[in-house]
Subunit: 309 residues, 2 copies
């Protein structure tokens, strides 16, 4: 029997046949259509005989309730206010009656993927953050307890308030949210602000301002660019300080750093640790801070874990 | 069969016979002696026939590991680096062989007490803070999952860093910890600072400065004293803002406010809510903020719940 993982994003839907030990045996993707669930069902029927499939797990970019309800979904508006897993099962019809279908939040399932098959496999508890346009992630406590929260907004790290005097508004309506600094978007914004504040030389000035990306900033920083390095320290210092607070709130064994910005590697880990460790006044055993291992596959793997259980 | 709850503090040990529905049928207390565990065993033998006791649960003012080990205990130094429950069972001897003994952190057990028998009974998840000299408390997630943390320092709310430019050092060695503001001690300090900053009239000026207590400040504030009211808002504003952050980290159904300062009642709840609600940018269902119901009995009741399970 086979397991299929689906990673639903705003521009593409990625499919993968996942083995019980977390390998992806077969993968393909399609552009995200209007009829998301119909297309998923069609793709699976085209690629597989439904009789050989035991379960299908999918990530969705929004909060999913215990009952599988997705109230909001900014990136894929056509599936908001729906029960995606239930609808997929319906579309699979009579032949798919035996298939277990489940859906979960992408950040939480990426965490479950890393916890089951990746960087967090050796820990009993972990907090994961995926640093991209925003900050996704999840919290898994000792014994494998995934924290969803009473209203499905646990681990929404993007919107932890970290700065009082921010002038720009966050997408959530607030000012000074963590994602305004410790994300790819936040880092690019800070690098531009830093260039505007002075005439300090920087290799970033030779890059078209509208095309500046987070990896340009981390690459420049790693190559010794002082302005870029200061921007990385400024932005991800907020994350390290939040980790220190999380260590007296939920006290995880490890923090797992994923998402596009994490490609900066050990340099980024060292930056985060610099602001994390001074905040640990009562923790004699600081949590480890490590890089994620599964990249973009983490969500798909976590989604399959959801239906394997 | 009977259950005994023990609440171990730095000055007194409180004992109670607790019924399965959370009533205290019989209670007494002794001054905390040097030989804490020996005295506990003696008290129980004096008051009861060990054959009629099913379990004994105790709170300790320190972190307790899964294995029952207490590495540190500032208020009762004689029991640090010990296994209090295991030692109690040993002291009860052969007659007490059938008795289940367990020990847990006082703040976490008070939370369990309120969750089982008190203000949090109607919620599936809750965060409790006990506002006294410091800030104790606990986190219970949906399904009754108590958060201890990987290193037993979860829910150590006292030492969440909330202010960068604090001059006074916290007991933990840090500067700007939550307990330096949102505790009884913090409130008294802030009221004194406010009186020193100006000649603004306040009823608090007529109280002997060395005897000023948190309840004097909350009572004055409730009676309309502007300086006192501002001090309460200043101190517990930090708590409300932290609750807003906790709502996107662990997203509990309710916050339970206990400890001596909570005797200020609904006034204090309203002050906390004033700073909590503006921080809830992505939470369409804010958590409730309510007063604890069990007072000083919460810990003893939670301790018994620990051995009833």
């Amino acid at each position: 029997m086979k397991y299929i993982g689906i990673d639903l994003g705003g521009t593409a839907i990625k499919f993968g046949e996942v083995t019980v030990d977390g390998q992806i045996a077969n993968r393909w993707e399609i552009d995200t259509p209007e009829d998301v669930i119909g297309a998923m069902a069609q793709e699976i029927k085209t690629h597989y005989d439904l009789a050989e499939i035991a379960g299908i797990g999918m990530t969705v970019p929004g909060p999913v309730s215990d009952e599988g309800y997705l109230p909001i979904c900014a990136n894929v508006p056509s599936i908001r206010k729906s029960y995606p897993a239930k609808e997929l099962k319906e579309k699979l019809g009579k032949e798919g009656e035996h298939i277990k279908c489940a859906a979960g939040n992408d950040g939480k399932l990426a965490t479950l993927g890393e916890y089951t098959f990746g960087a967090a496999k050796k820990y009993d508890s972990a907090v994961m953050v995926t640093l991209g346009t925003a900050i996704g992630g999840g919290i898994i406590l000792p014994g494998g307890y995934m924290v969803y929260g009473a209203h499905d907004v646990a681990a929404e790290f993007s919107h932890i308030h970290v700065k009082d005097d921010e002038e720009d508004q966050c997408g959530c309506g607030g000012y000074g949210c963590l994602e305004q600094y410790a994300s790819g978007t936040g880092l690019v914004r800070e690098a531009k602000r830093a260039m505007d504040r002075s005439d300090e030389p920087s290799s970033l000035r030779s890059i078209d301002r509208d095309k500046l990306q987070a990896r340009d900033v981390t690459n420049a920083a790693k190559a010794g660019d002082v302005l870029a390095d200061r921007a990385v320290h400024y932005c991800f210092g907020f994350l390290g300080r939040e980790f220190a607070k999380l260590s007296v709130i939920i006290d995880p064994e490890a923090y797992i750093i994923g998402g596009g910005v994490s490609k900066a590697g050990q340099y980024l880990i060292d930056v985060i640790r610099e602001s994390y460790e001074p905040g640990l006044t009562i923790c004699s055993n600081p949590a480890e801070i490590v890089l994620a291992e599964l990249g973009n596959d983490a969500g798909m793997l976590g989604a399959v874990k959801l239906v394997m259980d």
